[in-house]
C-alpha cells in the first residue's frame, strides 16, 4: 500500500471518532440523535479528504501517519470543545478550516524549506518581536498575571504559538552552521563568539520569565533549545550547563517575580486554605476533576463544569475548561485510560516527527524536524504536566485539542513543515533510521 493510501485509511478512524463522539454527546444531552452529528462528521471528513488529496498532489512521499494523527487530535478537540460549549466549537471548526488553508499555503509557499535558512535572523527577530507584543500597551494585556495574548477587537492572538516555530527554524539554521565549531572545540577554547548565542538564548528565556511572566513558555522554548543543542553537538555538558543555568535562573525569579512566585506556591501547596479558594482554585479543581474520572471516566458529557444556581446563573466549577484545563475534563470523562490514550497519540505524533529527523539527509532538516517535534512534545508536557501538577500550571494550549485560533493555526504550520521535511527525506534513496 502506498504511503498516501495508508494516510487515507488512517483518516477513517478519525471520521468515526468525530461522528461517534458527537452522537454520544447528543444522546447524553437530548436523548435523541439529530442530524448535527452526521453533519459534523461529514464536514470533517470532507476537510480531511481535501487535505489528503492536496498532500497526495504536493508531497507524495511525506510521512503517512502525521496528518491522520494531527487530524485525530483536532477531531478529538472539536468533540471536547463542543461538549463544553457549542458556540466555541463552531468557532473552533472555523479555525480548523482556516488552519487547513494555512497548512496548504505553507506547503505551497515553503516547498523548498531550505530557503528559510537565508532569512534566519529576520525570522529570529520577528519571533522575539512576537513574544514581546503582549507587553505593548493597547494591544497586549495580562491574563492571570501572564502576558501571553494580544487583542484585536474581539480577536485574541497568542504570539508565542508562532514564535515557537520561528525560534526553532532559527536555531536549526544557526546550530547547523556552528555545530562544527561547538563539537570540535574543547571547552576552554570555545570563545564567547561561539558560546555567546547559547548565553543569549538563556538570557532570552530568563527575559521571558520577567516580561511574559510565563514559566511554561520559557520551559517550552528553552527545552527545545537544549534538545536541539544536544542533537547538534552531542555534548551532554552543554545541556547540563544550560539546564543548571535555567534552574538557577528560575529559582531566582521564582523568588523575585511575584507572579512566578505565586505560581510556584500554588504548585507546591494547592490545597492550602488561603489558596484553594482563590489563586489555587484552578489547579485544585483540575485535580478534583481528574480524581472524579477514575480508571474509566464518567463518560462523554458527564464532567461537572458548571453548576446552575437559582436565577438562571451558573457557577464555574472548573475554570478554563476549554483551554488550560481541557486535559482535566478529558480525564474526568474518559478516565485514566482515555487520558493515557491521548498521551499515546501525542507520543506517536512526536515519534513520527523524530522519525522524520532520523531519515532527513542534511543537518538543517534533521535539526528542524527534531526541533519541531521537541517543541511540540514539550508543549504537551508543559500543559499536561501543569494540570497534573508535575510542574507549575501555566497557560499554554494543548496542541490541536485546546480551544484557540492561534494554537490551531500554528500547529497546522508545524504539521506542514514536518510533512515538507519528511517528503524531501523520503524522496529518492533514503537512509532508514532506528525508530519505527
Amino acid at each position: 500500500m502506498s504511503a498516501r493510501s495508508r494516510e487515507l485509511f488512517g483518516l477513517l478512524p478519525v471520521t468515526l471518532l468525530v461522528t461517534g463522539g458527537f452522537t454520544a454527546l447528543l444522546i447524553t444531552r437530548s436523548a435523541e440523535i439529530n442530524k448535527v452529528s452526521i453533519t459534523y462528521g461529514a464536514f470533517f471528513l470532507g476537510c480531511c479528504v481535501f487535505a489528503h488529496i492536496f498532500i497526495r498532489a504536493r508531497l507524495p512521499n511525506a510521512d503517512p501517519y502525521l496528518f491522520p494523527l494531527g487530524a485525530l487530535l483536532a477531531a478529538f478537540g472539536l468533540v471536547m470543545i463542543y461538549r463544553i460549549d457549542e458556540k466555541l466549537a463552531r468557532q473552533q471548526a472555523e479555525w480548523f478550516v482556516v488552519g487547513l488553508a494555512l497548512f496548504c499555503a505553507t506547503i505551497v509557499f515553503v516547498r523548498d524549506y531550505r530557503v528559510l535558512e537565508r532569512y534566519r535572523y529576520t525570522i529570529a527577530a520577528a519571533s522575539i518581536g512576537l513574544l514581546l507584543l503582549p507587553r505593548v500597551p493597547g494591544i497586549g494585556g495580562a491574563t492571570n498575571g501572564a502576558y501571553l495574548a494580544i487583542h484585536f477587537g474581539s480577536l485574541q492572538f497568542q504570539p508565542a504559538e508562532f514564535a515557537k516555530i520561528g525560534i526553532v527554524i532559527f536555531l536549526a539554521s544557526y546550530l547547523r552552521e556552528t555545530r562544527d565549531v561547538l563539537v570540535r572545540g574543547r571547552i576552554p577554547r570555545i570563545s564567547l563568539k561561539h558560546f555567546g548565542p547559547l548565553l543569549l538564548v538563556w538570557g532570552l528565556a530568563m527575559l521571558m520569565l520577567i516580561f511574559i511572566r510565563d514559566l511554561g513558555s520559557s520551559i517550552m522554548f528553552f527545552g527545545a533549545f537544549l534538545a536541539m543543542l544536544y542533537v547538534a553537538t552531542a555534548r551532554i555538558s552543554f545541556v547540563a550547563a544550560g539546564l543548571a543555568l535555567f534552574v538557577l535562573g528560575s529559582i531566582f525569579f521564582a523568588g523575585h517575580v511575584p507572579h512566578v512566585h505565586e505560581r510556584v506556591e500554588i504548585w507546591l501547596h494547592p490545597f492550602r486554605p488561603d489558596l484553594v479558594e482563590s489563586s489555587g482554585y484552578q489547579i485544585a479543581q483540575a485535580l478534583f476533576a481528574q480524581a472524579d474520572g477514575g480508571l474509566f471516566g464518567r463518560g462523554f458529557g458527564q464532567s461537572l463544569l458548571q453548576l446552575p444556581v437559582a436565577g438562571g446563573h451558573s457557577v464555574t466549577i472548573l475554570p478554563a475548561a476549554h483551554t488550560d484545563t481541557i486535559y482535566a475534563v478529558i480525564t474526568d470523562e474518559l478516565g485514566l485510560f482515555g487520558a493515557a490514550a491521548l498521551i499515546l497519540v501525542y507520543l506517536l505524533f512526536a515519534a513520527r516527527g523524530f522519525k522524520t529527523a532520523l531519515i532527513a539527509r542534511d543537518g538543517f532538516s534533521k535539526l528542524l524536524a527534531a526541533g519541531l517535534a521537541s517543541v511540540f512534545a514539550l508543549q504537551v508536557f508543559v500543559i499536561v504536566g501543569g494540570v497534573t501538577r508535575v510542574i507549575p500550571l501555566t497557560g499554554v494550549t494543548l496542541p490541536f485539542v485546546s480551544y484557540g485560533g492561534s494554537s490551531i493555526l500554528a500547529n497546522f504550520v508545524v504539521l506542514a513543515l514536518l510533512l515538507i521535511v519528511s517528503n524531501a527525506a523520503r524522496s529518492g534513496p533514503a537512509e532508514r533510521g532506528g525508530i519505527a
Binding site: L295, F296, T331, A350, A351, K366, A370, T388, V390
Partner: protein, 481 residues
Amino acid sequence: MNRQITQLFGVVLVLFTLLVVFTSRWTVFEAKSLQNQTANKRPLLEQLQIPRGFIFAGDGTKLAVNKRSGHGPTLRYSRVYPTNNLFSHAVGYSFISQGSAGLEKKYNDDLAGNSNEFSSIIDELSGQKKVGNDLYTTLDPAAQRLALQLLGNQAGSVVVLDPRDGAVRVMASVPNYNPNDIPERSRQLNTDKAAPLFNRATQGGYPPGSTMKVVTASAALDSGRYTPNSVVSGKSPKILGGVPLSNCCTEGSGNYGPLTLTEALAKSVNTVWGEVGEKLGKKTMFEYMNRFGFDKKPQLDLPSDELGVSGVYGSHGQLLGPSDAIDIARVAIGQERLRVSPLQMAEVAATVANGGKLMKPRLVERIESPDGRVIDKRGPAEIDQVMKESTAQQVTAMMEQVVKAGTATTAQIPGVTVAGKTGTAEVANGTANQAWFIAFAPVPNPRVAIAVTIERTQGEGGTVAAPIAKQVIEQLLGKGG
C-alpha cells in the same frame, strides 16, 4: 546526529510516562483523598443527584425520605424527615452545607449508594447508575413518641433495648430538634445553651447514682464473695474510703442494722454497697465495669463522635483505672467521678435481663436495595458473657424486690414482673438531682430493658424516672393505653 535524536525521543518517552504516572496518581492512587478535600464539592454535588436511600422504623414508618426538584442537569434531591423531632438524634440529618449526623452519617455510603471499590468498578463498566440503599431500623415510633411525651420539657433521656438481641427500640433525648430545620437553623441550634443537637442517650455523661449498685451487686455475687443473703451492716455513718459515708439525704434514711444484700438493694443502702465495693476492691470492680462496657465506646452503630465513654474521669478529662487513686466505695454507689451514658445503663439492665450475656446494641436491622434485595443483614451479636447465668438470676431476683417492696414501687405493672433499680445523684452542689431508673420486664423472659434519666430535677429516681419507665414498658409490652 541520529543517535542524539533517538536519545531525545527517549527523553520525550520518559516525560510522557511521567504524565501518565501523575494522571494515575490523581485518578486512582490519591483519588480518595482528593475526594475528601473540603474544597472538593464534587462528591457532595454528585450525591445530590442520587436519590438517597430511605430510613424506616421497625414498623415501616418512613423516618427519612427525599424531595425531588428540577430535572436533567439541575435535578436535585434533598432530605425530608416526615416524623420531624421524633428521632432527631438516632436518625440525624444529611444536608450539603450542614453535613450529617446520626444514622445518616454512619450509613452514608449505603444511603448514597457508594459501594465498595470492586463492585464500583463493575458498575462503572456496566454503566450502572448509583442508587441509595434503604435502612430498616429497629426503632419503635409509638414507644419513642410516648417517651418524648413523658419527658416533656425536662432535659433527659430514655433508652430501650431488646435484651435478647440488642435492638434499640427507643432512643429519646430531650431537648431535641427538627432535622428539617437544620438548613435554616443550624447555627442557632449549634449555639443553643440547651444543646438540642447533643444526643444525651449516647453522649451524655451523668453520675449514675444508685443504679450503679446493679453493677456492684453483679460483681459481688459473680466473684463468689457474696450471696444475696450475705449480711452487711447498714449503720450510718460509716467510714469508707477514709471519709464518713452516710445514708441520709438521698434515698431511704438513716441508720440500719444488719441487712441482707437483697434488702440493701431494695432500700438502696449506701453504706452497705459502699462497703461491698471497698471489700471487692478496685481490681474486681473495674473488671466487671469493663465487662459491662465501661471505659470504651459503646459498639452502637452511630458515628464514633456521637458516642461517649462511661467510666471514672480524672480532673483533666482522662479515664481513670484501678491503678489510680479512686474512692472505690463511692464508685460502687455511683458517686465519685463516675460518668455514665443512658445507653450504658440500658446495657447494664439488658445484660442482667439476658442471663448475663451482653448483646451488641444496634439500630439497623438490615439494608435493602430499592428493588427489595437484602444487601446486608445485621443479626444479633454477643459482646461478652458478663456474669454467670445463675448470678444474673440472683441479681434479677434482687431487682424484683426493688420494684415490689423497695424504692421503685411506682414502676409496678399489674400482671407483669418488673425488675429495676432507682438512682438519685446530687448535682449542682446538692441543689438538684440526676434521677435514674433502669429496669427490665417481663421477668422471667424479658423483652424490654430500659434506662430513664432526668437532668436537674427536684424529684428522685423512684418518683420521676420510674413512672416514665413503667409507661414505656407497658407500651412496648402491648399493655399501654
